[in-house]
């Protein structure tokens, strides 16, 4: 495995509030990292710094190890962000994932339309191509935003709580699609549901001001405590309920 990019003693935050402090981390190519941690711990901030949307206060992200370019990063923000009543079609949204490779005039030609059709086909959206967003279910909407994130053929895919507002029955299907995508791109996915995603991810990163990388998909309460990661480990099956110690 080779390194795709490195975060080097990076500190980041907003208006005098530091959210991430002195974070260092190497992200390996084709890893599938589940990003977990408490609310306000800096998960979204971490994604924004990697995307280049937020300048670190100190330190940096070094994209040179894997020669990663900013326009090779696909991003799926939290689903609630787009205005679902806005008059825009599924195809338009998928096409917007290719704007990274365009100038401000953003002309979409035959190649882009073909690429959008491919992605919509892969994610089962072909029949919905000319539908407006307000006619879609939560699961369909989620796949539209995933299609937007991958239509530009990214090498790194960042997902921010992709399963919010989605029916549990769609979730497994969604992660299955991510697993296939993981064959050709590195994935970092923010999630609250450690129990569910541990079946799909290859590793975990716990973000709570610091970032602790855990190179396996099996993570225990002890690991979390060790990392100072005060989150509830959701277990499925008849495991007794675990009372967590508060992080100090």
């Amino acid at each position: 495995m080779s390194t795709l990019f490195s975060i080097e003693s990076m500190t980041a935050g907003y208006e005098e509030k530091i959210v991430l402090r002195d974070v260092s981390m190497d992200v390996e190519e084709n890893d599938f990292i589940g990003i977990i941690g408490p609310n306000g711990g800096g998960k979204t901030t971490l994604l924004k710094v990697i995307l280049g949307l937020l300048k670190p206060l100190s330190g940096r992200v070094d994209y040179s190890p894997g020669d990663l370019k900013l326009n090779q990063i696909g991003y799926m923000p939290q689903v609630a962000q787009g205005d679902a009543l806005f008059p825009v079609t599924v195809e338009d949204v998928v096409l917007s994932g290719m704007m990274h490779h365009k100038g401000a005039t953003g002309r979409m030609g035959r190649n882009e339309k073909r690429r959008a059709a491919e992605v919509m086909d892969e994610l089962g959206l072909t029949a919905l191509a000319h539908q407006a967003l307000n006619e879609l279910s939560g699961g369909q909407l989620q796949r539209v935003y995933l299609a937007r994130a991958v239509s530009g053929s990214p090498r790194l895919l960042l997902l921010d709580e992709p399963a919010t507002f989605v029916d549990a029955s769609f979730e497994a299907d969604f992660y299955e699609k991510l697993k296939i995508l993981n064959n050709r791109m590195t994935i970092m996915m923010v999630s609250h549901d450690v129990g569910t995603i541990s079946a799909w991810v290859k590793s975990f990163a716990c973000v709570s001001e610091k970032v602790f990388y855990h190179p396996h998909s099996k993570i225990t309460q002890d690991d979390l405590r060790l990392y100072g990661c005060p989150i509830q480990l959701v277990t499925h099956g008849d495991v007794p309920h675990v009372v967590l110690h508060k992080h100090d």
């Binding site: 917007s96 990274h100 401000a104 005039t105 953003g106």
Partner: protein, 279 residues
């Protein structure tokens, strides 16, 4: 001679209607999609302050209105981007302040009191060549701006945060869009009137959105709907001697009611079909 006058009047009216429709189609689609209707109302009324000031200083009132309209549009955008104030309250204050300033300055202006009614309710009779040229220019600028940056503008309007991942100029585009919208509003005042303008910006786009959700189609079709509504309103007001602005609004609302009726019929017939096929 009388024929010639009528002929040039018809040409002027049609040109005015065309330009107003183009601005309504382009700016209206943006305003309705982005839910900026109330903000547009605020900008329109704020620009009335500029009209009053223009009279007081003895300059062209439309120039005063343009300065106020542009200033208030950009100011509102700046404040809402900062998120430091309740936006609807800010708009309400600006709305009333603009009207108050306008009325005070017109009251202070010595001599002949201008025909306020024509600014409030609009009149094609008071539209000057300069107004028509101004409307023509803003129409052309809006068309070119939208055509050249179509995708970028569409995606910034739809999902600003995502747009930031592919362009560093989100804020610049937003200010340009809002500024052009403000100017388009102001230049329509003489014809449509401060109070009526909101109808031009909202009704056509809303009519079209009953039938399609494709952004480009909404722009094109709402321009056509506006043109039908404005020229229909002109004709009706000409023959009935009713005030132009009010007649246009009445015609547009009538269109909207008919469109709603058509859509309801379409919906129920497609539901009927669905019932038949499932049984």
């Amino acid at each position: 001679m009388e024929n010639l006058f009528e002929y040039s009047f018809v040409i002027r009216s049609l040109l005015g209607a065309l330009f107003a429709s183009i601005t309504a189609g382009l700016a209206g689609t943006y305003i309705v999609s982005k839910r900026l209707v109330f903000l547009s109302g605020g900008v329109t009324h704020a620009s009335f302050g500029g009209i009053g000031l223009g009279y007081y200083l003895g300059i062209n009132p439309v120039v005063g209105a343009a300065v106020f309209g542009l200033g208030s549009a950009l100011g509102m955008e700046y404040m809402s981007a900062r998120g430091k104030m309740r936006e609807d309250s800010a708009i309400g204050i600006l709305w009333a302040l603009g009207m108050a300033v306008g009325i005070i300055f017109i009251y202070l202006t010595p001599g002949y009191a201008p025909n306020l009614m024509s600014y409030l309710f609009g009149s094609i009779l008071t539209v000057t060549d300069g107004d028509l040229i101004g409307l023509g220019i803003i129409s052309a600028v809006l068309i070119i701006y939208t055509a050249v940056f179509y995708r970028t503008l569409l995606y910034i309007s739809f999902d600003e945060n995502y747009a930031r991942t592919f362009t560093r100029h989100v804020d610049l585009f937003r200010y340009i869009s809002v500024g052009l919208t403000g100017l388009a509003i102001v230049l329509n005042i003489r014809m449509a009137g401060v109070i009526m303008i909101i109808a031009l910006l909202t009704i056509p786009a809303n009519i079209v959105m009953l039938f399609t959700r494709r952004y480009l189609r909404i722009i094109v079709l709402s321009t056509m709907v506006s043109f039908a509504g404005i020229s229909g309103g002109f004709a009706l007001s000409w023959f009935t001697n009713l005030p132009t602005g009010a007649t246009i609004v009445a015609v547009l609302v009538l269109f909207w009611l008919v469109a709603r009726g058509i859509r309801t019929l379409k919906r129920s017939s497609s539901i009927e079909k669905l019932k038949k096929t499932t049984i």
